[in-house]
Amino acid sequence: MDFEPSEEQALIVDQVRRLVREEVWPLEAKLDPDASRLEPEDHARLVGKTRAMGLYGLGIPPEFGGPDVDIVTQTLIAVETAQHRAGLYSPCFGAFGGAGLAQLYEANEDQKERYLFPMLRGEKRGFFGLTEPSGGSDPARAIRTKAVRDGDTWVITGAKIFISGADGADFGIVFARTDAEKGRGGITCFIVDADTPGFYVRRVVHTLRSGHYGTELQFEDARVPHANVLGEVNRGFAIANDRLTRQRIPYAAGCLGVAVRAQEMAIAYAKQRETFGAALSTRQAIQWMVVDNEIDIRTARWAILAAACKAARGEPFRTEAAMAKLLASEGASRVVDRAIQIHGGYGVTKDLPLERWYREMRIRRIGEGPSEVQRIVMARDLFDQALY
C-alpha cells in the first residue's frame, strides 16, 4: 500500500502541525514537565483556534455536531497532535475536544438527553469502567462486579481499578455481570450517576504517569434504575469490545506521533553534538540507531494507515487495528529508547520530553489491550475461530 495524503489532508495536517509547534510548544515550556493540563484561559484560547479551523470535536459524528472528518484524516491529525511533551496522553491538552464516551451514541433517546448531549455540551463528564482487580485483558471472564435486578432497579456490587477520570466525573459507563453462567453473554452495561449512594472512588492509583492517575472504584449495593441499562441486558460485552477495537487506531497514531518527534530530536542532536572531534551523526553506531528508528516509524505508519483505510471503507479492520496498535506501541518504545541513548545524559533529564515519553510509552504496550492480547486477536482472525 502506498499512501499519499490528498491535497485537503495535507493542508489540514500542515495547519495542525503549525498549531502544535507555534501554540502548544510555547505554552508547554511554561508548565511543569509532567503537566497534563493547561491554565483554563490558555485552554480556552486553543479551543478557539481549533474551532476556527473547523476541527473541534473530532470523533463526534457530524449528526451530533462534530466536524465531517473521515477516519483517515483523523488518524493523520492524531499523529500530529501527539508531537509535544504531554502529547501522548493529552494531545494538544484536549483542545480538539473529542467523542467522549462513544458508546453513548448507541443509547436510547432518554439516555441521550440525560447523558450524551450534556457530555457533548461540556456540562457532564463520564468515565469508562471496565477493568477490575481480577484482570483487564479478558473482561469476559474477569468481570466479577455483579448486578442483580430488584424490581425497576439493579443492585451493583464490586470493584473497578485503573479507571481514569472517575473522581471528577458526573456519571460512568460500568460493566457488570448479570448472568454468572453465560461468560461474555452475561455482561450488561450500566450508566451509573456519580452521586449514586453506594458508589465510591476509594483511592488514587499512582503509575509511571505523574500528571495523571487512575482510580479504584467500589460499588456497595449501588442501586441503578433499569432505565440506565445501556443497550440490552447481557449484551454489554459487544459494547466494550467495539470500543476497544475502534480505539486502537488513534491509540497507535499517538505512539507514532511521539516516535516521529523523538526521531526529529535525535537527528538534530546527532548533527550538533560532537564526540572525539566529529559529529555524532558521522558515527555508524548512531546512524544505525536512526535508521532502525525510521524502520520502526515507517512500519507503524503503514500499519496504522492500512487499518484506518479499511475502517474508512467500512470493511472489517479488527486484525489491522490490533497489528497497528502492537507495531506502533512497541516500535515507538524502541524509537524513544534509542533517542535517549543518542542524547546521552540529557536524554534522561526532565529538561527534555524524552524521559516522560519513555515512561508513558511503557504503559502503551499494556493499555487498550497488551501486545499479547493483540496477538490473540490476530490469531483468532487468522484461524477464523474463537480460540478461547
Binding site: D34, Y200, T207, S210, K350
Partner: protein, 110 residues
C-alpha cells in the same frame, strides 16, 4: 505510602530547610496548631526541589511547620492530597483556594 501524609510535623526554620534533599516531591505547610494551611509540590522546574519550595515558604512566613514526602509521582500525589484533605475537612486548605477554579476530583478514602 499511606493515602494521607501523616509524617510528624517539623518546625519551619532555615536549618530544617537546609537539611532537605533537592528532590522532587510533595509537602504540607501547617500552622502552630498542626492545621494544614497549604499543600504543594516540588516539580521538575524547581531549582533545588523540595528545598527550594520550602525556602520560598519560609521567606514568605507562610507557615510554622512543614512535612515532606519525596516522590517522582509528585503531580498525582499532590492531587491526591488535595482530594483527601477536601474529603476529610469539607474544603481545601486556605493556601490552595485558587485550585477551586478548576474542577478537582472527589475521593471517599474511608
Amino acid at each position: 505510602m499511606g493515602v494521607r501524609l501523616d509524617k510528624p510535623w517539623r518546625v519551619l526554620t532555615a536549618e530544617a530547610v537546609a537539611d532537605l534533599p533537592a528532590e522532587l516531591g510533595v509537602f504540607q505547610l501547617g500552622d502552630s496548631a498542626g492545621e494544614v494551611v497549604r499543600i504543594g509540590y516540588a516539580g521538575g522546574r524547581t531549582l533545588f526541589g523540595l528545598r527550594s519550595e520550602l525556602e520560598a515558604a519560609l521567606a514568605k512566613r507562610e507557615a510554622a511547620m512543614f512535612r515532606t514526602e519525596v516522590t517522582s509521582q509528585y503531580m498525582s500525589r499532590y492531587e491526591e492530597l488535595l482530594m483527601v484533605h477536601a474529603a476529610d475537612h469539607g474544603q481545601l486548605p486556605p493556601g490552595n483556594a485558587a485550585e477551586a477554579r478548576r474542577r478537582l476530583g472527589r475521593l471517599s478514602p474511608g
